[in-house]
C-alpha cells in the first residue's frame, strides 16, 4: 500500500512538472526554436527540435523524480544493515516499458523519415549526387565550392559566374551543389536550415526554398584546418528582381575572371596532394 501511494505521489509530481514543461517547450520555446522559420527546411528542423524536446522532457523529469524519491524515502542509516525485499523483477512492468519505448522510438523514426523524404525534400541536409527527395519544377542551380578557408558560389545558369557572397531569390526552390577543392568542409547556412559536407570530388546536392527576406549566417561545420572558425560569411535572401540585377552586375564585374575559370563541372579534381614525405 505504501508503495502504491509512493507511485501515485511520483506520478502526480511528474505529471504536473511534465505538463508544465511540455507546454512551456511547445508554446514558449517552440516559436523561437532554432534554426527559425526562414525556409520550409528550417521550419521542419525547428518543429522536429521542438517535438524532440517536448518528448524528451517527460523522460528527463521522470527518472530523476524516481531517483530522488527513492533516495529520500528508501534510505537506511546506522551501523545495522537491513536487507530489502528480494524482488527480482515484474514481468508486466518490464514488458510495458519495452513496449512504450519501442512505440516512442518507432514513432520518432517514422516521423523523421516522413519529414526527411516527404515534407521538406531532404530537410536541408546534403543528399549526395543522387538525391532521393527531389522537388518538382525548375530549381535555381548554385554551386557552393569550399576551400581553405572560404566558400565561393558559382551560378551555372548565369554563365558560370563565381561570386564571393551568396544571394538567393525569395520564393524560388534552390538546388545547391556543394563540393570542395581541397579538404572536407561543411556548408552550414544556419537560418536557411542547410548543412551539407563539401567533399572533394563529390557533388553534394541540397534543396532549400527561402521564403523570408533577410540575411543568413554561413559557417563551416567540419574541421578543415587552422582557420576553420573564421570560415564564415553572410548571405542574403532578396526579392527576385533584386536578385536579377545583382547577378547581372556580378556577371559584368567578374567577366574577366569567369573566362579564366575551368568550365563548370559537378566536381573538380585539382592536382592530388600526393604526399610521399
Amino acid at each position: 500500500m505504501i508503495l502504491r501511494r509512493s507511485g501515485v505521489r511520483i506520478g502526480l509530481v511528474w505529471g504536473v512538472l511534465s505538463a508544465a514543461t511540455v507546454l512551456g517547450v511547445v508554446f514558449g520555446l517552440g516559436p523561437h526554436m532554432p534554426p527559425g522559420q526562414g525556409t520550409p527546411q528550417a521550419v521542419d528542423q525547428s518543429t522536429t527540435n521542438t517535438l524532440m524536446t517536448a518528448l524528451a522532457a517527460p523522460v528527463l523529469i521522470l527518472i530523476p523524480c524516481i531517483f530522488i524519491y527513492c533516495v529520500v524515502n528508501f534510505r537506511q542509516r546506522g551501523a545495522q544493515i537491513q536487507d530489502g525485499p528480494p524482488v527480482r523483477g515484474h514481468g508486466p512492468l518490464q514488458l510495458g516499458w519495452v513496449a512504450i519505448t519501442t512505440v516512442l522510438v518507432l514513432f520518432l523514426a517514422g516521423y523523421g523519415t516522413y519529414t526527411l523524404l516527404v515534407t521538406s525534400t531532404g530537410a536541408g541536409g546534403g543528399q549526395g549526387p543522387n538525391p532521393v527527395a527531389v522537388p518538382g519544377g525548375d530549381p535555381l542551380q548554385v554551386q557552393v565550392i569550399g576551400q581553405q578557408w572560404d566558400f565561393t558560389y558559382r551560378y551555372p545558369g548565369y554563365g558560370g559566374v563565381e561570386t564571393t557572397t551568396l544571394e538567393l531569390p525569395r520564393g524560388q526552390m534552390v538546388e545547391l551543389h556543394v563540393t570542395s577543392i581541397d579538404v572536407i568542409h561543411s556548408f552550414w547556412a544556419y537560418q536557411l536550415g542547410v548543412k551539407a559536407d563539401a567533399v572533394p570530388g563529390t557533388d553534394n546536392i541540397v534543396y532549400v526554398e527561402p521564403t523570408k527576406l533577410g540575411s543568413f549566417q554561413v559557417r563551416c561545420a567540419e574541421l578543415c584546418g587552422i582557420w576553420h572558425g573564421n570560415m564564415t560569411s553572410v548571405g542574403y535572401v532578396v526579392s527576385p528582381s533584386a536578385f536579377r540585377s545583382w547577378i547581372e552586375q556580378q556577371q559584368r564585374e567578374w567577366a574577366p575572371v569567369t573566362k579564366q575559370l575551368p568550365p563548370y563541372a559537378p566536381a573538380y579534381y585539382p592536382e592530388p596532394v600526393v604526399r610521399g614525405g
Partner: protein, 633 residues
Amino acid sequence: MQTDVIAAPASRPAWRGLIGFNLLTGIVLGIVGFAVGAWLGGMIGDGLRWVGQSDENDIAIFLGFALGLVGYFGGLGFFNYPISRLLGHPPSLREYDSEGWGRYFRMCTDHKVVGIQYLVVILIFFFVAGFNAMMIRTELLRPSPSIWPADTYLTLVGEHGTMMMVLMSAAVIGPFGNYLIPIMIGARRMAFPRIESMTVWMTLAAPIVLLSAIGLGGFPTGWTGYTPLADQANLGMDSYITAFILAGTALTLVGFNILATVFTMRAPGMTWGRLPLFVWAQVATAILMLLSAPVLVTALLLAVLDRTATTTFFTSGNGGSPYLFENLFWFFGHPEVYILALPGFGVALEILPVFCRKPLWGYGMAVAGMLGIAALSFMVWQHHLFVSGINAPLRPFYMLTTELISVPTGFLFINAMGTLWNARMRLEVPLLFVLAQLFNFLIGGLSGIFLSDTPSDVTLHGSYFVMAHLHYTILGGLGFSLFAAFYYWFPKMTGLQYNMRLARIHFWSVFILFNTTFAPLFAAGILDMPRRAVTYASYLQPINDWVSISAFLLGGSMLLFGINVVYSWAIARKPAVDNPWHSRGIEWQLPTPVPVHNFERLPVIVAGPYDYGVPGALPVMQPEAAAAPAGGE
C-alpha cells in the same frame, strides 16, 4: 612443470635492480630504436623520388616509431617468450610471486598487477588530457585567438580528444576488468596473461607517442583524423596514426583476451545466469572491441600507405575517396561509442544492488540490454554522415537503427529504477556516483536522439551540441562510473581506505560543476557554434566565459580526487577491512590484499551474486571444488 625461481643474491647492489627487462630498459631501447628507424627511413627516403619532392619524410618517422616500439617491447621483455617458443620451449608462465615494487615496472602476468598498472596509467594521462582541456578552455575565453596560435589550438584539441578516446576506451575495462574479471568468475588468471600484460604497456605507449606530435609540428584533425586534411598535415599526423594503431591493437587484444577468459575459465557452478553484470558488460564491450578495432587498424594502415607509399585511397582525384576513411573510421567509431558506455553500465548495475541491499531488478533484461546495444551498434555508423552526401536512400534505415538503440539502453534504466524502488539504500560515495552517472547518461542519451533524427541532426551536426552530448555520455557516464568503480573497489585493490569526506566533497563538486560546464554547451551548439573552432561569434562569449570558468573549477575538483588518490595510496596508507560494503561479490570474499593465485582452491559457485535479502541465501561460493586440483605449483 617448469617454474622459474628468481633468486637474488643478498649482496646485490641497489642499482643492479635497474638492469634487466623493465620499463627503464624499454625506454632506453625505445629511444635507440627510434633513432635507428629514423636514420634508416632517411636512407630509404633519399632513394625515393616522391620523398625528394617534399620537405618531410614520413617514412623516417613511421620507421622510427616502429623500431622504437620494437625496442620498447623488447626492453620490457615481451620478446623473450616468443623467441623461446620459436626455439621450441614449452609454455612457461613466469609469475612474480615476490612482493615488491619491481613487478609493477615490468611485464607481469599477474592480472592484479596489470589492473593496478592500468589504473595508474589511466589516471596519469586522464590528468594530462584534462590539463589539455583546461588550456582549450583558456583559449576560448576570447572569441578570437589570443593565447595560442590557431594551429597550436588545434593540436591541443586533437591531443585532448585522441588521448581521452584512447584512455577512456580502457578506463574501466583496463584496471577493473583485468583486476576483477578472473576473480569474479572464479579463475586464477586470464586466458592469455602475456597478451593481457602487453595491452597495458601499449596503453602506456599510445599517449606518449601521441604527445610526440607536439614536437613534430602538431596535427590539425581532432580525434577523427579525417582525410584529406590528414594528408595535408605535417609530421605530427604520423604520431596520431601510430598512437591510434597501437590503441586499436590493444583494444582488439583486450577484447580477445576477455572473451576467451570468460568463455573458458569460469569456475564450476559459474553459470551464465550467475555471471556478475560487471562481467557481462565487459563481455559485451569485448565483443565490440574484438570486431570493430581491427577495422580502425586497417583504416589507419591505409592512411600510413597514403602518406608513405603514394597510394591514393583517400584522394578522389586519383581513384580514392575521403568517404572511404569516413566509413571505415565510423564503422569502428560507433561501436567505440558503446565501448565507452557499456563498461560504465556494468559498474552501475554491479554497485546498485550492494548499496540498495536488494537483488538486481531484471537480471535477464539487463543482459539482453547490453547484448542488444552491442549488436545494434554495428548497424548505425552512418548517422555520423547524415549530411556528408553518401547513401541518401539509406538514411531512414540508419535513423531507425540508431533510435532503436534507445530501447535496450532503456532496459538498463528500468533495471536501475527497479533496484532502487523500495530499497534499503545506503548512500555511500560509490552509489552517489552511480546515480549521478545514470542522470548524466540520461541527458547524454536523450540529446543523442536529437542527433539520430536526420532533420534535427542537420541543425546540430558539427556543432557544440554534439560536443556536449559526447561529454555527457563519456565523461558524465563512463567518467562518473570510473569514479564509482574507483571508490567502490579501491579498498580491495590496494587494501587501503580513502578519505571519505574528501570523496564526498569531490562527488558534489564534480557533479554540480560537470553539469554547469556542459549543459550550456548544448545551447552554444544550437546557437550555431561549430566544434573545434578557435574563433567564434562574439555574442557567444558570455556562454563560453561561463563554461570556461566552470571548467576550471571542474578541473580543480578533479584535483581533489587526485589529492585523495595520492594521499590515501602513498601517504596515509590506512588499511581497509576485507569487505567494507558487506557485498556478496566474490572479490569481497577474498582476503585483502588478494593472494597471487586468488583462490587457495578453485571455488564452486553455488549462488548468484545479488541475492541480498533472499531468505536462506547461500554464500556465493564454497571455497573448495570437490574435484578441482590443488592450487599453486
